[in-house]
Structure formats: C-alpha cells, structure tokens
Amino acid sequence: MEIRDASVAELVVAVQGGSRIAFTGLYERFHRVVHAVVLARVHAGDAGDVVQDVFADAWAKLATLREPAAFPGWILAMARNRATDHARRRHPISDDTADLAVAPPPTSEAAAALRAIRELPETYRETLIMRLVEGLTGPEIALRTGMTPDSVRVHLHRGIKLLREKLGGQP
C-alpha cells in the first residue's frame, strides 16, 4: 500500500495493525487541521506541543476507534478536548503576548488578526484558521474534517464576513 494513495480508513486500519509509517501518513494529512483546532483555543507558542500530544494520544488510542472512516471527527474531537483542557490549566487565551513566542516571531498585526479570529463564534474560528493560517482550500478542509463542502463554504463566508467587521475593513 502506498501511503500517498491510501484512503484515511486504510491508513487507520494499518495503524491499528501497528504501522508507524501509516501513522506518519495520517499526521501528514491531519496535522494542519489539528493545529488549527488547537490554535483556535491555545496560544501559538504552546499549540505545537499540544498538537504533538494529540497525535501521541491518537497513536495510543487508535485501536479503540471502531469505524476507521470516522477518524477525522475522532481526532478533531480529541484535539478540541486537549486544547480546551490545556487552556484551562495553563494560560488564558486573552493574554495574547504568548502568541508572539513562535519562530520567526509574527508581527503584532498578525497577533491582532489571530485574536480577532479567536473572538468569532466557535463555529467559524476553526474553519477560518484552517483557511487563512494553514492555507488549506475549502475542499481540502471538507476532506480533512469530514464536514460537507456546503458547510465549509458557509462557515468560511460567514466567518470572513464577521472577521471583516471586526477588523474594520483592514486585513
């Protein structure tokens, strides 16, 4: 099985059989959406570690996933839980100076834009970060989250409209 050509369900089955290579395949496909989910709740400086924790958890628990095709929703739910837990125990998201603790440091304008996205309703936060931060297209987001393309499109358009209002027309 070529990792690149395998379906998500095939990769999951392979990982459940102990394949680490297949697991790297899942990571390649999902690390950006997982990061987006985490970044919607956690400072940028901490998000990378939380992403690694999520995948470590996934590696340990993947055997309990009964329906391999449900992997996208499963790992994103895990990411939401991990990120929420981290935010409660560590840093309030309102302290945005920690967003600058990444290399290379982003501009304060970038930190402000990220903060504006985080202030949007939860429904739109993740999708907008997947699109604007991670650079995924709408169809790619649908594929990696399990959402329908229609839902993704709606989230993007509603979200960008709200973001535009928050930023006062300034990107």
Partner: protein, 337 residues
Amino acid sequence: MSDDADYLWDKSGDDPEVAGLERLLGGFAHQAPLRAPPPRRRRAAFIAVSVVVVAAAVVIAVLLVRRGDERGVQLAAVDGGAAPDGFGFQVSGGAALCDGAAAHAGSAGTLRVGGWLETEVGATAVVQVADIGEVRLKPGSRLRLVGTGPGEHRLELAHGRLSARVTAPPRLFVVDTPVAAAVDLGCAYDMEVDDAGQTHLRVTSGAVSLEGHGQASWVPWGHEVIAVPGRGPGTPVRSDAPAVLRDALARFDAGEGGGWSRSPLGIVVDEAGGQDAVTLWNLLTRTAGADRAAVFARLDEVAIRPEWVLEEDVLAAQPQALESWRESLEGTWNLGP
C-alpha cells in the same frame, strides 16, 4: 475585502484582501514534523456497564431550551437587516393565496407580518427570508409570517411541507408548528406538518433545535425527529437508522416501558453504535436513574468523553456536563456522508 467567493473557497479567483490575511497569518501555520510516537499502551478496555440507581430523580435542566410555546414573544420593530415590508415570494406550478388574494403561477408578492400564504395543489412558493435564506413552501401548505426583526425572523407552518435553507447566526430563524418550534442553528432542513399538527423534521445540513413542552431535541444533519401533539419533540434518530432502532425509539417516545431486556430503551441501547451518538446523547435528558446509567454507559462506550465530564455529573443530568460532552461530540456529528 471583496466578496470574491472563488478565492476564499479554492484560491481560484483573486481576492487581494483575503490573500493579505493569508500572508499576515501564514507565520502561525504548523510545519513541525511528527515526533516519534511513544510505545503504544495496551488498549483500554471498554468501560463495563455500571448500573447506578440515582436516588432521586433530578429535575432535568434542558439544554438550550426556549419553550416552543413562547409564541407571544414581541418581536422588535422592523428595521436594520430585517425585511421592512415582509418577505417577498414567488409562486410557480399553480395558484396560491396571500391573505385571501390570489397569486397565480409566475406572480410575485409580499407576505406581510401576520399574513398567511397558502399554496394550492401543484403550487410551490419560494419565500425569501430577509437576506438570510429562503423557504420553499410545497403544495397544499399554509404558512404565516409571525414576525421579522434584527433579532429574529419567525414563521409558522400550520400544515403542509416546506424546505428551509438559511445562512445566519444560530437562533435567528424560527419556524413554529402546532406542536413545536424549529430553531435554526445554521442549516437546511425539510419539515412536514400533518392536519393533526404532528411535525416531522429532517435536517440535511447544519443543525436544528426542535423545542416544545419544555423539551429540546438537538438534531444535526443526517438526523430526523418527530414531534406529536401533547408530547413535544421526540428523540432524534439518524435518517438511515435501521427499522428496529426507529421502532424502538418511537415506542420509547410514546412512553412504552417493560422489562429491560424487551423494553424499547433496552433495544435502543443494545442496537446503538458509534453512528447513534446523537440519539444516545439526547436520551440522557429523557431518562433517569438506572435507565440513564445504561444510556450513559453505552454512549461512553461508543463516543469520546472529555476528561472533565464526570460520570456522576452526567448521571445527574448536570447541564454543563451534558453540554461539554455534546460539544466534544460535535466534530463526529459533522462527519460528511
């Protein structure tokens, strides 16, 4: 920022402002490789069913309920984003009546606040819901515009069928029926109301909260629910659920009990799998005592429960615990077909 949908959707168009946001925020993108996964732990055994008898039934604080019979709500004056003259509509395939005046096929009109729109056999009316979406009223149906304002757009389907597609913040669009209220949470759905008022809701995108009689059913896409007179909304079930599950849920909603092994709830719990997390979650507020404990155990087996959602809080139907679990399940519910 322009409204260039193509670039935002698939980068095929040209939208300098969205591209500017991408450049601004791209520094936060994740690029780190996977760290070596740790040795795999042994698979955790599924939690065995632990039947706990809750000593006293807890008054269920229903989540997100706005009573469906709060029909007397006074809507804000029409202004701002609302449709000042009501909702425009267009008729096709036959004739319709708008406040008693005939509207023939191909004609357009305005449904004003308090007015009724009735489609005759073969006629369909497409009603524009302010600037947030549209309702397609099917033949032989009767629809009223209850109110429209910046905080809420509200219709009433007395009988017949409609399809709604709305793009708006949650709870901005509501459709009342004789037995419940469908509160839009950003969605598309089909609704049918029979002459007795029984309401059948099938969600095709997003989610709807069907509310009434102090009960709320959270119905995400791919699920449907029935509300009957005198009982309020039933338990949602996925649209492709097997007959045995549907039948058992219908009997449970009708109040049928019986010994556990042959009871409708027993059948539901036995038959429910990972795809039925929505049904099981909704059952947590419809059961008590040992029944709720059994539902909890099954849901805990088939779905991820956040660490901070404690078993005892779920068994007590503690609203925050239920809501936290629902939120964590939402990603799974969003799975596409």
